[in-house]
């Protein structure tokens, strides 16, 4: 099968690391393919569990990660320069040179601030003047200084999350906590993990609006997915009367079972199914996100997901809130 020179270069840029190209060659390939409008995105992992990357890889509702990065070269796409979980390049070739124009820095995972250590992302990088290993703190301060926007993906990068839980020995902080000077360009997209639609939707908004951040609430989460939602109960099917289409009970605190019935699904008894989970620790009453109607794991474009935590019978953990996990704990007790 004959392929054009241009197509060959396209495939090269994706597999450059596997082909053994040096950093300089990689840069030249990138220049050859740079299309006016493709937004470079640099993805850094701090103290992460990689759940946010895995969640993003499952994006379907708006578009898949593949469409957004590998083959979507027109202007409404992104150039995902590196992402540790998926990149072919490794070692010295992994971190890209800081782009000259506008670019977006995406950070997953918390940033440790104690002892200048605890999370080293590469040994040394030419041009950084570093003789000691480069930590996530160094990398975020280097790329973040000239980034057009910084997306804190997940609760760990947004607010510190579980690595910043009580008892943590590393001084973990979210990006905003570790770099207050960057506040005006940080957008928090919390969740443990965040729904891939929240990540893709925020990036899509920025592409459509000259890299401007979407409207956000008082802790810098996009209103579209968090702040405007009120609490989860306002759209939860376990509210009394929800099946008849009447959600007014949500604001009156009238939940199925009246809080006195069996607090969890009684599979054998159809009349007792779908009780409110408040009595076993559901944090829905104080959590803002759109889980209750967008749900998770959508199987096709523009289709809401197949289920969500509360729909499956598990109490909400409040994972999009700034005080997760300490103030949302204990997770399975009476609220």
């Amino acid at each position: 099968m004959r392929i054009s020179r241009r197509d060959f270069l396209k495939y090269c840029s994706v597999a450059a690391g596997a082909l053994g190209l040096s950093a300089t060659d990689l840069l030249n390939v990138e220049k050859a393919l740079a299309v006016n409008g493709a937004l470079p995105v640099i993805w850094l992992n701090g103290q992460a569990c990689t759940g946010c990357t895995v969640s993003l890889a499952n994006s379907v509702y708006y578009t898949t990660l593949q469409d957004l990065t590998l083959f979507g070269l027109p202007a409404d796409s992104i150039d995902l320069m590196n992402i540790e979980t998926l990149s072919a390049s490794m070692g010295d070739q992994f971190l890209p040179a800081r782009p000259a124009g506008s670019f977006v820095l995406a950070v997953e995972g918390a940033i440790p601030t104690k002892d200048h250590g605890y999370c080293e992302i590469t040994n040394t990088y030419p041009g950084w003047n570093h003789t000691t290993p480069v930590t996530i703190y160094d990398a975020v301060s280097y790329y973040g200084a000239t980034a057009a926007a910084i997306l804190s993906i997940g609760t760990c990068a947004s607010f510190g999350g579980i690595p910043a839980g009580k008892g943590n020995p590393t001084g973990a902080k979210g990006v905003l906590g570790a770099f207050p000077a960057f506040e005006s360009k940080i957008l928090n997209i919390p969740g443990c993990p965040p729904n891939p639609n929240w990540i893709v939707g925020s990036i899509a908004y920025m592409l459509a609006n000259s890299y401007a951040l979407p409207a956000y609430d008082n802790i810098r989460r996009p209103n579209l997915y968090y702040g405007n939602m009120g609490r989860l109960c306002t759209r939860c099917p376990r509210v009394d009367g929800a099946r008849k289409g009447d959600m007014s009970a949500a604001t009156q605190g009238l939940f199925i079972g009246g809080g006195k019935g069996r607090p969890y699904d009684d599979i054998g008894n159809p009349t007792k199914r779908s009780y409110c989970l408040r009595r076993i620790g559901c944090k829905g009453p104080k959590t803002q996100s759109d889980c209750s109607f967008r749900q998770w794991n959508s199987t096709s474009y523009r289709t809401t997901g197949v289920n969500w935590c509360v729909g499956a019978g598990a109490p909400c953990q409040g994972c999009t809130q700034a005080d997760f996990p300490d103030k949302q704990s204990p997770f399975v007790n009476i609220l």
Partner: protein, 63 residues
């Protein structure tokens, strides 16, 4: 006695560096892996409701 350091190893969960010691020629005399990230889950889990352990430890790995 040259050292080759590959850091980061990609396409894995988390952070890893590999250090190879060679004898100056083509023979590898030693190989070491370095786990380059630490969070301290053991310390974070202390003094919490034991039922929280299920929720918290599942975030050690997101894959």
């Amino acid at each position: 006695m040259a050292n080759i350091k590959l850091d980061p190893i990609t396409r894995i969960e988390g952070h890893l560096g590999v250090v190879l010691s060679t004898d100056g020629g083509n023979a590898v005399t030693g190989a070491n892996c370095e786990g380059t990230m630490f969070r301290g889950f053991e310390s974070i889990l202390t003094e919490r409701n034991p039922r929280d352990a299920v929720i918290l430890t599942s975030r050690i790995c997101g894959v």
